[in-house]
Each structure stands twice: as C-alpha cells, then as structure tokens.
C-alpha cells in the first residue's frame, strides 16, 4: 500500500467512484492530510499500548545518513534531514544517532565504537553540567538545537577528530523525504480504516445542510 494508492482510494470515495484529474482540490491535499492523520493515529496507537510496548514499531522509523559538519566555534553538528517528526516522550522522536559505518575515516571494528551516541534531552546539560553524569562515561552525546543536532566532545576531541565523518539518524517521521508517494506507506493494517475515515471526515465535514433562517423548526439553526 503506497501513499498514492491510499489517496486514490479516498478520492474515489469522495467522488463516489469517479477520479477526475481537474477536480476542485488536488490529490496532494489528500496526501498531506493522510500524513497528518497517520502521524496522529500512530502516536495514539503507541500511547494506548505503551505499558506493554515502550518501543514504536520499527516500520515507522526511517534511517538517514547525514554528513557531520563543523561550525565556526569548532563544534560538530548535523542538519536534521527532515522538517518534522512524531512527538514521542523525552524527544525520542529522533530515536538514535550513531556512526555511519560507510563514512568513517578509520576502520572501526569494535561493536562498542559503533553504538548509538547518548541523547541529552533538551536543557539537561543546564542541570547536569557540573555533575559527574555530564561526562557521559566517555561517550559522545547529542542534543537538538533548532534544526540541528550538536555533538559533545569525547576526551576533548570532536566527532570529526575521531574520524567519524557521517552519522546515521533514526527518526520516527512520515516526512515526504522518508516516505515518498510511491514508497510503501508505513502503517499497520488495523490503522488503514480509521485513517481513511479520518481523512474523509475532513473533506466531507464542511458539507453541512444550508441554514434556513426563516424556519423556526429547523434544527440546524
């Protein structure tokens, strides 16, 4: 099931079977709503099941290879590749950032060197900066600043100093960059029905009965 097929199905329902390419609204309108509604349903399903399963289904997690850059102060950062992601607790919408094995200056063979970096939730460093925990047990940490992810140093050396030129980020997102029109749309079968109903409700919800202001018996006043 791709986004294209999903939007066709909804469009057909809206138009009672007909697909007109010169319609009053674009197929992309439907696709935007599908993404938005799917994100809401995915988060809702996860929340209702979080006691049993804290982890989000892997089909919703997209992996992006990103190049590490250096700013004027020498801090290493990456640009977050997508505009938006699902709001999971503690900022875990961005699930992990780890070294990209395909983009290392030196060959690293130890598993421990390829482990994910430590996420530092927003403003935690403000609290922990002077505590021993801020040393992160000799691991790299990362934190989100605006649309970028900044990395802490390990033994006073940055990621680039350690020869890590690229990282893999795992993000829970339905951004067009992660899920294109013709990619399989990552949604579980049980959510397709509520998803279609959701989007249909948006496009048909505005079709109300015209108000008859002269009729006192009209319940729509």
């Amino acid at each position: 099931m791709t986004l294209g097929i999903l939007s066709d199905r909804i469009y057909r329902l809206l138009k009672r079977g007909d697909i007109q390419r010169d319609a009053e609204f674009d197929m992309r309108d439907i696709q935007y709503w599908i993404r938005d509604s799917a994100a809401k349903l995915i988060l809702g399903q996860w929340k209702s099941n979080r006691d049993e399963n804290k982890n989000i289904d892997t089909r919703y997690v997209s992996t992006f290879p990103v190049a590490v850059q250096k700013d004027a102060q020498g801090n290493n950062y990456i640009n977050i590749p997508v505009d938006n992601w699902i709001n999971l607790p503690d900022g875990s919408g961005i699930q992990s950032v780890r070294p990209d094995p395909a983009n290392l200056a030196t060959n690293r063979t130890k598993n421990s060197e390829m482990l994910a970096f430590i996420p530092i939730p927003n403003r935690y460093l403000d609290i922990f900066y002077s505590l021993p925990a801020s040393a992160l047990e000799n691991k790299f940490g990362w934190m989100i600043r605006n649309k970028q992810i900044f990395f802490t140093k390990k033994q006073d050396r940055t990621l680039l100093d350690w020869g890590i030129k690229g990282v893999l980020t795992e993000i829970v997102t339905l951004d067009p960059l992660a899920v294109g029109e013709n990619d399989p749309f990552p949604i579980s079968e049980d959510l397709i029905d509520p998803l279609i109903r959701d989007v249909l409700a948006i496009f048909t919800g505005t079709e109300t009965m015209p108000k008859d202001l002269t009729n006192n018996q009209n319940p729509n006043i």
Binding site: N55, I118, L131, P132, A135
Partner: protein, 252 residues
C-alpha cells in the same frame, strides 16, 4: 567479576523495556549517586593508588574522585615513606612560592620528628632513579610532613619535602572518573540497578506508592547481599566460628 556503570545503565534500561537511550543521562545520574552510596556503605570497597606531581607551591592537588585518603608518602624504589600529618603547617604559601627557609643557615624550615632519626643521622642515599632521599647526617632534619587543605582540595607539604617532585597517594575513590568508563563490581552493579529503579519510582510515583516501596526493598536487599559478599568469612569459616563457640558446651 566486574562490569561497568555504562552496562549497568543499559541493563536497567532494558529491564524497563526502553529501546532508546533517552533516559540514559538521568539513569547515569542516579547510578553515580548510587555508586557513592554503595561505596560509603561499604558494599563496594576499593582503594586507588596514584602518583601525583608536586606543584611549585609545594602542594599536591587531590584527585577529583577522592572521598578520603589512607596514606601519603614518598615512593622510593619498592618502599613508601609515609608522610606525617601536621596541622601546624600554614596554607598561606601561595604568596611564597618556595618553602620558608631559616634565614640563619638557609636550610628549609621543617619540623623535627623522632621517627626520622634514622635519616637524620645517616648519609645513605635512597633513590628510585629520578628522585632521592638522602640522610643529611649531623642531625639534618628531613621529616616529611603534610597538611590536608579541604577548601583548596590539596595537600600542603612542608619545607622538608623540598626537592620532591612526586608523591604516592593511597585513597578511597568514589569510583567516578570523568573521561573514562567507571568500573564496578558485579555485586555493586546489581545494587546500583535496583537503586536506579527505586529512584525513578520515588520521583515518578512518590514515596508512598507501592511500586516505590517494592523497589526500595529490592535495593536494600541487593545492598545487603553486596555487603555480605564483602565478608572474608567463607561458609565453612562461619560454621567453624559458630561451632567453636558452642563446641565446649557440646563436648561437656
């Protein structure tokens, strides 16, 4: 059996069912806090030995992870010559970069101690290659003394240590060394893990919650197990100790 604090935290995360590391920093904070406790409660004993440089003020900075020290001395070959605590040493040597000298003879002003009579009346050298201790002979005072300065977190050495470039320190570490992975015994690791769960429940559900009480009990249980494992007595040893106390009565 030893593990690391890092692995302890990952185990605690896995037990809670987390698949990401977003609680890592919080758990690390709990773990390091707990590590201090298990050390303080003697569930995890470890002495650390280190050689430290003497700075130009004749003081030695404490390591950041020091809880308390057991001895300070001068490393000479395979011997450690202990320094003697002396609270009459002043801390005001910042202004006076060298130890005070006797204006009359130019010798460093040092205290005399009878324990060091041997060195005071011999001319023999004790050397480890890069520094040496020489008996001055003729009653020359070479007593090594120090005073701990908790405010500045340093040991202030006195004039008798003039010429010494490094000292040996034996101390109780809190186990936390920034910039490296903290190693912890398996027994203590189990207690730490329960401590993490307890602290999380404590702040999440409140002190009165059943979950908090249960996890506190788990922590106390693991802590007592860890303390018990520190005992030098074997099972047979304990039985022997009991039987020796009662045998007399039995054989009568």
């Amino acid at each position: 059996m030893y593990t690391t604090v890092d692995q302890t935290i990952r185990a605690a995360l896995a037990e809670k069912g987390y698949g990401t590391l977003h609680k890592y920093v919080l758990y690390l904070h709990f773990a390091l806090d707990g590590l201090f406790r298990v050390k303080r409660d003697n569930a995890y004993q470890s002495l650390t030995y280190i050689k430290l440089k003497v700075n130009e003020r004749h003081a030695v900075k404490w390591p950041d992870d020091m809880i308390g020290y057991t001895r300070i001395g001068l490393p000479l070959g395979n011997r450690i010559l202990d320094f003697i605590p002396d609270n009459s040493i002043t801390f005001n040597q910042q202004d006076n970069l060298k130890p005070p000298y006797n204006p009359n003879n130019g010798y460093p002003l040092v205290a005399y101690d009878s324990d060091y009579d041997f060195f005071a009346f011999t001319n023999r050298y004790y050397s480890n290659g890069d520094q040496f201790l020489r008996g001055g002979g003729q009653g020359s005072y070479i007593t090594k003394r120090f005073r701990a300065n908790p405010d500045a977190r340093e040991f202030q050495l006195d004039g008798g240590t003039y010429g010494i470039t490094q000292i040996y320190l034996e101390y109780v570490s809190n186990g936390v060394k920034p910039g490296s992975e903290t190693i912890v015994s398996m027994d203590a690791s189990l207690a730490l893990k329960e401590w993490i769960h307890y602290r999380e429940a404590r702040f999440k559900y409140g002190a009165a919650a059943g979950e908090t009480k249960a996890s506190e009990q788990d922590y106390l249980h693991e802590l007592s197990q860890a303390i018990r494992s520190q005992s030098d007595l074997t099972y047979n040893g304990i039985l022997d100790a009991i039987s020796q106390g009662t045998r007399f009565t039995i054989t009568q």
